[in-house]
Point group: C2
Chain length 351, copies 2
């Protein structure tokens, strides 16, 4: 019988961080695609649109007027999924009908005053300013809330309703589902092996090399062994860092630079403004901030949906929703493709 080769032979892989399995069926890339293609991107975004509620000087749905900001700008989401003062649903009357209180705040953070830029097209100091804002909003909201979720939905494909470069921050009184899982996995790994799961994982990936995308003095980017999305990546500090605010100035500068490189590679892959959802995970905050969170390692997940081209995405539907995530190229193949891409943005290359 044949020798196993990951790029030829389907198999399942385990995600020890989120306690989940993925089916890897690399031979599936051979099938033709006749399904839905995504609508082409809006061609030109005006640099400033006084009617866009994210622009400097614009009036928002709440009636508030934005300042003429020239760096990042943080404000309250006018349609928050989490509000500070919801009443408690009270005790559940049955074990199959459990509801609990949820309190929180939702903020929006603009990255830049211009609507026609994206992170990879911003300068390293401009990206550094975004990182500083991420660190301070984590500190500010983390003083009160157990979890501060920073996330960016980029592109219409990811439900993003506004082209202005921005992210969101949802802080909650509870640990969200995926945070709970990562907490459970990292805690039990630390108990068993005496060191943080993601520190050992980084060391292994630096040795094995085939899933690395970028490395720098303080950071690494890799396609995790258990990646689900075609070009999913994990961004990690080399040092043991539990939360964004702990990052030193040198680490922040270096993060800005590696983010610019990663996002440039992403845009270069299909020569399009690459859609994704991304977000930061770090140790819990709030009243539990004093606890021992040494098993946590700060990291960012990037989940981009595109598979074959700027308009053909991976659909996580049927089998994925009912049974198990499934991917069509190996993480090693994805890493190799990303590694090979130039670090200069295709929009900036003289043709």
């Amino acid at each position: 019988s044949a020798t196993f080769r990951a790029s030829e032979h389907q198999h399942i892989r385990y995600n020890p961080l989120q306690d989940e399995w993925v089916l890897v069926s690399a031979h599936r890339m051979k099938r033709p695609w006749q399904g839905q293609v995504e609508p082409p991107l809006m061609k030109t975004v005006p640099r400033h649109d006084p009617l866009n509620p994210l622009c400097p000087g614009a009036t928002r749905a709440s009636g508030e007027v934005n300042p003429h900001y020239d760096g990042t700008f943080l404000f309250d989401n006018d349609f928050p999924a989490l509000q500070p003062d919801a009443p408690d649903p009270g005790p559940s009357d049955h074990p199959l009908f459990r509801a609990e209180a949820a309190r929180g705040v939702c903020k929006v953070m603009c990255f830049h005053p211009w609507s026609d830029v994206t992170l990879p097209l911003m300068s390293v100091p401009e990206i550094r300013a975004v990182i500083d804002s991420w660190a301070s909003v984590t500190e500010e909201l983390g003083a009160q809330y157990a979890w501060v979720q920073i996330f960016e939905n980029k592109g219409a494909m990811m439900g993003c309703s506004n082209p202005h470069p921005h992210c969101q921050v949802w802080a909650s009184s509870f640990l969200p589902d995926i945070a709970r899982r990562e907490e459970r996995s990292q805690q039990s790994y630390h108990k068993q092996h005496g060191e943080p799961l993601l520190m050992e994982y980084s060391r292994q990936e630096l040795l094995r090399k085939d899933r690395l995308v970028l490395t720098s003095e303080h950071w690494l980017v890799l396609v995790p062994f258990w990646a689900v999305w075609p070009f999913q990546t994990l961004l990690l500090p080399r040092r043991h860092v539990r939360q964004l605010p702990e990052l030193t100035p040198a680490e922040r500068d270096d993060l800005a630079s590696i983010m610019k490189k990663l996002l440039t590679k992403y845009d270069n892959l299909f020569e399009t403004s690459f859609p994704y959802s991304m977000g930061w995970h770090g140790a819990p905050t709030g009243s539990e901030a004093g606890a021992n969170w040494d098993h946590w390692q700060l990291h960012a997940h990037y989940y981009p949906p595109l598979l074959r081209s700027a308009t053909v995405r991976k659909f996580m539907v049927g089998y994925e929703m009912l049974a198990q995530a499934q991917r069509d190229l190996t993480p090693e193949q994805a890493a190799e493709k990303l590694r090979a891409l130039p670090e200069v943005h295709y929009c900036l290359v003289q043709k």
Copy 2:
């Protein structure tokens, strides 16, 4: 402070079947939508297209020619994610790099010889034939494989690349991720409470009534307390049934009739051919078929993405991918809307 009302006040709910939490923020329905709208549906699908590989008499990618079938038709997927003979990846060399063998088969099942019908537009006896085919493919593949996943991706929005009414069947040598979770939850509930989780859950929902959508002699359809998708439903037999093949002829006829009613309501909701992914879950099969599976109750999940209209869907992105599922109307509101809809298909109403 205010009294808690689920339709006004955000809260979190627990899914005891899949061990997951959802954030319910019903007040979010008030926000305006400026994001991506879906492309309109293909207007007319020809009843027969000799170039469509799912049609009777057509030639498939493999070169095989379909018979001139006149009921359901089952054949091997020409681009299977699971094949019967993949070699084993061998033992893992590190606890963070775990891979295991995966073997299986992928089949496609056409529901009807015509491309221009969907389940709700088929007759009850025609739907009954689909149910019989589901039961027999479960029996056939279940003889060899541990899990037989029947699922339907309906609509381009759900990655469905062919309008011909059909579903897929992926059988695997392993229990997929979600099956493992449901196995774990149902087993531990049974151990603790001495009866199947979903039997007690059905009884409670029949008493509480506010999440019921349809009931019949042998079946019920409800929006589960922990639903994630806006109009998600759960379809359950009233009797304790572990697997599809166990259904009696009377239960199958009644299932055909309740499916027709549910899918008609779905289409009527936004007067469109309602997209969804759906699938069946029942007790594991294969070499473990002889084990005690009394904690399992057969059920089907329906996961439809539409939220506000035929073209505005719920995006499960950023917060949902990084933190926790979030929904914008309560399950009770969704059930009420579905209950109120007529059981006659809007396409068949004389206007």
